[in-house]
């Protein structure tokens, strides 16, 4: 669910789409590639946003379905067969960042959110 980007981002604002519209997360510089941040959603829920080494943003639910804790943003990312994932910092199950599917247990998944990088001016949306 991610727009492909030709060049790494340095400016603009990362946004993610909630059912109430686009939500500003932070500037790309606020994210370290390979690390995540947690985002508080307008309905009180939480998302985890990551940047891969190519500068692409991804967003999934922050709740680790195996433990119930809101911690996925604090996991380590990696890639398997060319697909990006994050490993939960608690019990290390991996989740595909594009589909939310758990790579270690096919019956489990987390929500995914569409992301985009809005140019500076639109950041207030």
């Amino acid at each position: 669910m991610t727009e492909t980007l030709e060049r790494p981002l340095t400016t603009g604002t990362i946004e993610l789409r909630t059912d109430r519209g686009w939500l500003a997360v932070c500037a790309p510089s606020g994210l370290v590639p390979g690390r995540g941040v947690a985002v508080l959603l307008p309905d009180g829920g939480q998302a985890a946003v990551f940047l891969d080494r190519a500068g692409r943003p991804y967003a999934i639910g922050n709740r680790d379905p195996f433990t119930g804790a809101y911690v996925l943003s604090r996991g380590l990312t990696g890639s398997a067969d060319g697909r990006p994932y994050v490993a939960s910092p608690l019990l290390k199950q991996r989740f595909d960042l594009e589909t939310g599917a758990c790579l270690d247990d096919a019956s489990v998944s987390v929500p995914v959110y569409e992301t985009r990088v809005a140019p500076e001016a639109a950041a207030a949306a």
Partner: protein
């Protein structure tokens, strides 16, 4: 008969589940047959053999034997908590307790056993239990919370396991055995005696040759004690009966199936009941053709396979009897018996080795022609894996050499490679060496997990996994497959090789290392959670020497760290963090204690004294960490690295200064060592301790490097470990001066950091590396590789460049910026991190996390400040 036959299974225990798998393997599930399972217990089949591991932390779910989608995938109708009540063989109908009825074409009874409770008066008092199901264990655990002492009736295999559980629950524990020795069925008198001594040393009171005569109860009906047959009495608050099991054959009796004189449903070689060809019995409820009821799981599995083959109308060898060899770890003591353990064959000889001081007893039974017939091993059952498969053959070395401890009669390690193909390697699943080799050569399994999946070997009690791994790797190498020893999918190198690459090429970034040395397919990827922290740790260990920033969260390094290192604190189950300031040597002033108390009080943290002689404060949110640490750093505390693969603690005993026995100042030495090695990043955590005399109150021999004072200086021990696989440290050098001690530890640690695998403690490393302790001694004491100067220089760099990570973090606003719960709402605390009260403190509110989504809450913290 209907077009698709109906197969009904009564009892979903270990053997029942294996029968279902055997049906599935033969294509007799899904569309081919309707399979209905009546299960009395509230949960699907679980690993009863590992039942006791519940007390060491395995949850009931961990014990399950049923793969997540197995029942669904095969269209099996599993009725939990609905036992069969009657069988009508005339109409071929089974009726369950719920009233559910089902007509069968084939019926299989796998109802197992029930624990025998001797008819002693008072046996029904509150506080009397049996030991068979998860529910039994839950009840025992609950009851044990409010009492102080417990007794087990029965000193056999299960009785000792139950005693171990009671001991583990902190009760004063007694075992009462009617026979003159413990484990009368498996071991002989000598073995029983060795076992008794070891078990008594653990603080369990053993009464043999006596029976329980009466259980006494108080006015409330709860157990108060037990009178024994010799007139003595034990004061005890609970009793577990473990006096043998009896086959559960009532259902069979009620419907007129033939049972044995001492119970057990009579079956033929196909496991068909002798009375009714449409009814089978398997597992512990069956009386096999050899006239025995088998109380072990491996014969039950064979019966399950046999019955499934018979139903599928396949040829089978049939079940005519089985080996009853066992290897167990009872209260931490290895006990094994195999073959003709009691030496019943005519003219056989015993070869016995006994060392009563260390509780080791080994006996081999040798036939007239030199054939190994059986044996008993107590205290050290290392050799079981090789000896059992050799049973029935003449061993390649003399029997004396097989029982003598390693190091006395010259080393005789006849590894699994020396075994014949027919040798059974995995006893639980009856898998031979030939089958394992074929898994590699014919079914092209390339790894141990694949072989496990393909053959089931190693998936029972686990005691064969070591031999299995050796065989698989040998076979792979024989077939010209180079066993991939690479760290992970991203690097083809071992951790030790990566260390050398980083050191010699002076690489300071993960990205450069991946680009230059990663596997082709991984070069452009994002790495993985295995290699990132490992490489991060290597770079951190070498940072001062490479001239890189020593701060673990600078630049790219930040992205490599596990969450614990990333936030310089330990992640807890609800997403909060714990904080462990360093308390070198465990010595702390009252003022500093007060500061910890005040900080914990002001931030509402749960406090606990750790096993490492310091204090842990739990329950801090990410955004509170900087404020908490600001106060701690102000008071002179620094990071304790409880989160890092780094030096943890150097424990000390009070030593010469106060203790009447002490011969050196152990506290001072512990503090010196802790301050010297603090912050040192290593392949796994490092622990140490210093004891002031040979009484060893600091438990130094359980540590990676342990120091024990002598009247002439210090003894250095290395490679100790607590944890899951404890190991006593080995003596590296004796009577060292302060300077000699430190120089030797410097070299030892740097050599370990350089050559160990990822997450390999010094104990495992020492066991793995070629030449073991002798090689390490050669390198670090005798400088056989000419490395010592370099190792010392590396450590000198580390010591010179150490800086406290928390002080560094607090000094830099940019570094502090990451300590927020939400990037888009930096001031909002995380609403999912909540607590509820317990015992005057607080604990995580897990109910809050259990729901599918978090309700919207007002955002305010738990902090007073």
């Amino acid at each position: 008969m209907t077009a698709t036959p109906t197969i009904v299974l009564i009892g979903h225990g270990m053997v029942g589940q294996r029968f279902l798998e055997a049906l599935a393997d033969r294509g007799l599930t899904g569309a081919a047959a309707r399979v209905v399972v009546l299960c009395e217990e509230p949960r699907p089949a679980y690993d009863r053999v590992q039942l006791t591991s519940y007390f060491s932390g395995r949850s009931p779910e961990d014990l399950s034997l049923v793969e997540a989608d197995f029942i669904e995938k095969h269209g099996i109708e599993l009725r939990l908590g609905d036992p069969a009540e009657t069988i009508d063989r005339a109409t071929r109908t089974v009726t369950a307790r719920s009233g559910f009825t089902v007509q069968y074409d084939q019926l299989v009874l796998a109802t197992g056993s029930y624990p025998f409770v001797p008819p002693v008066p008072g046996k029904d008092s509150a506080g009397c239990f049996v030991y068979r199901t998860i529910e039994d264990l839950l009840e025992i655990e609950e009851y044990a919370k409010n009492v102080t002492s417990g007794s087990v009736v029965g000193g056999g295999l299960l009785g000792l396991e139950a005693a171990g559980a009671l001991k583990g629950l902190g009760l004063d524990t007694h075992v009462v055995e009617f026979a003159p020795r413990l484990m009368p069925v498996q071991v002989d008198d000598g073995g029983g005696e060795a076992l008794r001594r070891t078990i008594e040393d653990m603080g369990v009171t053993v009464h043999t040759g006596v029976g329980g005569k009466e259980i006494t109860a108080g006015e409330d009906g709860a157990v108060t004690g037990m009178e024994l047959s010799d007139g003595s009495r034990i004061d005890t608050d609970m009793v577990i009966f473990s006096a043998g099991v009896r086959p559960r054959d009532q259902l069979a009796r009620d419907c007129g199936l033939e049972v044995g004189e001492r119970g057990g449903i009579k079956v033929d070689e196909q496991c068909r009941t002798t009375t009714d060809p449409a009814v089978f019995a398997i597992g512990e409820c069956a009386l096999a053709v050899d006239g025995r009821v088998y109380g072990l799981v491996a014969p039950g599995y064979e019966m399950a396979e046999t019955a499934a083959s018979a139903i599928a109308a396949q040829e089978t060898a049939g079940f005519t009897g089985a080996d009853t060899s066992t290897k167990l770890k009872l209260l931490g003591v290895d006990v094994a018996s195999f073959g003709d353990a009691h030496g019943t064959a005519e003219g056989c000889l015993d070869v016995v080795y006994a060392d009563s001081r260390s509780g080791v007893y080994k006996k081999l039974v040798i036939g007239q022609d030199g054939t190994l017939l059986g044996g008993v091993l107590v205290g050290d059952a290392e050799a079981y894996g090789t000896l059992r498969p050799l049973t029935g053959s003449v061993p390649p070395v003399s029997p004396e050499q097989l029982v003598l401890p390693a190091g006395t009669g010259g080393p005789v390690s006849i590894g699994p490679s020396a075994l014949p193909d027919e040798a059974v390697i995995c006893n639980c699943h009856n898998v031979t060496k030939g089958t394992i080799r074929a898994a590699v050569t014919e079914h092209s399994c390339g790894t141990v997990p694949e072989v496990k999946k393909c053959t089931k070997a190693g998936t029972g009690c686990g005691s064969c996994v070591k031999a299995l791994t050796t065989l698989v790797n040998d076979e792979l190498e024989l077939n010209g497959v180079t066993v991939d020893k690479g760290l992970c999918g991203c690097f083809p190198h071992t951790r030790a090789e990566l260390y050398e690459i980083v050191r010699t090429l002076r690489l300071t970034s993960y990205e450069d290392l991946l680009a230059s040395h990663g596997r082709e397919a991984a070069k452009d990827g994002d790495g993985c959670e295995v290699c990132k922290p490992a490489v991060g740790s290597i770079i951190a260990s070498l940072a001062p020497t490479l001239g890189a920033s020593g701060y673990v969260l600078d630049g790219e390094q930040a992205a490599l760290q596990d969450t614990n290192d990333h936030f310089l604190a330990n992640l807890q189950r609800n997403g909060s963090y714990s904080i462990v300031p360093r308390i070198p040597g465990g010595e702390i002033t009252p003022e500093k204690l007060i500061v910890i108390g005040e900080v914990a009080r002001d931030f509402g943290l749960y406090t606990k004294i750790t096993g490492g002689q310091r204090i842990d404060m739990f329950g801090a949110r990410v955004d509170q960490l900087p404020r908490i640490w600001a106060r701690l750093v102000d008071a002179g505390f620094e990071s304790g690295h409880a989160y890092g693969k780094a030096l943890r603690t150097v424990k000390s005993c009070v030593g010469q200064t106060w203790c009447r026995y002490g011969v050196q100042d152990s506290v001072r030495m512990a503090i010196d060592l802790e301050l010297r090695y603090r912050g040192l990043r290593s392949p796994h955590k490092l622990k140490s301790a210093v004891s002031g005399c040979a009484r060893e109150c600091a438990e130094a021999r359980g540590k990676d490097f342990g120091v024990i004072a002598t009247s002439n200086g210090w003894n250095l021990y290395v490679g100790g470990n607590g944890g899951a696989d404890p190991r006593h440290a080995d003596l590296l050098a004796q009577d060292l001066s302060d300077a000699e001690l430190i120089r030797l530890i410097d070299r030892f640690l740097m050599f370990y950091i350089r050559t160990a695998d990822r997450l390999e403690r010094t104990s495992a490393w020492l066991e793995r590396i070629e030449g073991g302790l002798d090689h390490v001694r050669d390198v670090v004491v005798h400088d056989s590789l000419g490395l010592c100067d370099e190792l010392e220089a590396l450590m000198a760099d580390h010591v010179a460049h150490y800086r406290d990570e928390w002080a560094e973090t607090l000094d830099d606003p940019e570094r502090l910026a990451r300590f927020v719960s939400f990037v888009n709402a930096p001031d909002a605390p995380d609403p999912s991190v909540r607590f509820v009260p317990e015992r005057d403190q607080m604990k995580p509110d897990l109910d809050l996390l259990a729901g599918p989504t978090l309700p919207v809450r007002t955002l305010e913290g738990t902090v007073a400040r």
